[in-house]
Amino acid sequence: MKTYHDIASDGGSDVIGQVTAQRARLEDRLSLVDHVVAVMSGKGGVGKSTITFVLAEALAERAWCVGIVDADINGPSIAQMTGVRTHVPVLTPGGVMPPENREGIRVMSMDLFLAQEAAPVLWEASTQDEAYTWRPMVEMGALRELIADTEWGPLDVLLVDLPPGADRLPNLASLLPRLSGVVVVTGPTSVSQVAVERSIGMASRVARVPVIGLVENMSAYICPACGAAELLDSNVGDAEALATRHGVPFLGHVPFDRNLALAADTGEPFLERYAGSMAGRAIIDISRKVARFLTR
């Protein structure tokens, strides 16, 4: 009886060759990108995408050429936050030209392909039963296409906005072996910080991706009338202590700012108008630390 290794070919499909070609295409595309940085959190709802959006904005203000790929295939939000949700990507000889927002940030997201904003992301199949067996593979394939088939052009940094979950980073790291680092976002609650501890462990021990640092989002509430910062009742965690405990840099606290929430909802740049606000200053400081890490 013949074994697998006795078979000289796979009948002409050359599956290995095709998968290798997919990887080569990805590597070619990223050869013009200086740094790839993931933004992750172990917990949903901590404002990861918002931080990605304003970090991109702050880096663009520093004259960096920035792209964002929305890796949240099932809950994309970056296209709306950057104000490009209604744009149609354009096919060029080099790939698909991503839309740019007002600040020149190039964006690629699943949202750009969906007819209806609130429609669930489903893939054609003879049945959706037992989709758990193949759905993760399709989603990774979709993410690969979003990165590899987009004509990013030369970028200083490509930010990857990951969906929630500690397991997401190792998957991304196997798709993109040359990740420069990861920014971890947490909220002020101890629940989100426990989840984030798992993410930091996953980044450093499993994915072996450098942790650029930890950001605490929604750390306080800014009164729109007087501008005073007030800690939220739920603010019982200590993000700085968490960072110290894990030996990762603490990048800063970003207070809850209704203007930031509005900017993210309407697709308007935040720093253009509110760079001097407490949240704006915090974000600019965080971007400076991220830039320093990447250019060290």
């Binding site: 002409g12 520093r62 893939w123 199949a125």
Partner: protein, 149 residues
């Protein structure tokens, strides 16, 4: 062994027939719904590809509820840089005697058009303040890394 034919999908199942190249003996590989789906999920073509995969092939062919035209054909196919006009204009604005090295010019061109003129001004201001007459990549590094632009 070579691919002879692929039948299906029939309700998600497929029959893929391979044949020995010397005697013609055929062997069929049958896939059930889940197996068919697994292979499709890899984004590969059974039987091999005759041409390179199209950009965003999976997204454009398998995503349900997608836009009617998810990707537009470019009216300016062949143009590599959509910002050449803006760049030319920015440079025409003049560096007022400031020389830009080839490397620095290339880096400036990589900056999005929206912010490029203001970046150029900032870099030139920095160079003037520091008594420099030429802008090279080191000057740009200094502006980018240390001044918190």
């Amino acid at each position: 062994m070579s691919l002879r034919e692929a039948r299906g999908p029939f309700e998600g199942t497929m029959s893929i027939v391979f044949a020995c190249t010397s005697c013609g003996h055929s062997t069929a590989m049958l896939t059930n719904k889940a197996e068919t789906q697994m292979v499709r999920s890899l984004g590969v073509a059974i039987g091999g590809r005759t041409k390179e995969a199209a950009p965003m092939e999976m997204l454009r062919s398998r995503l349900q509820g997608r836009r009617e035209t998810p990707i537009a054909e470019s009216a300016r196919m062949g143009s590599k840089c959509p910002f050449t006009g803006v760049v030319a204009q920015a440079f025409a604005g003049g560096g007022q005697g400031m020389q830009w090295s080839e490397g620095a010019t290339a880096r400036l061109n990589r900056i999005p058009a929206f912010v490029r003129p203001s970046v150029q001004r900032s870099v030139e201001d920095y160079a003037r303040r520091n008594g420099l007459t030429e802008i090279n990549t080191s000057v740009m590094d200094a502006v980018k890394g240390n001044l918190g632009m």
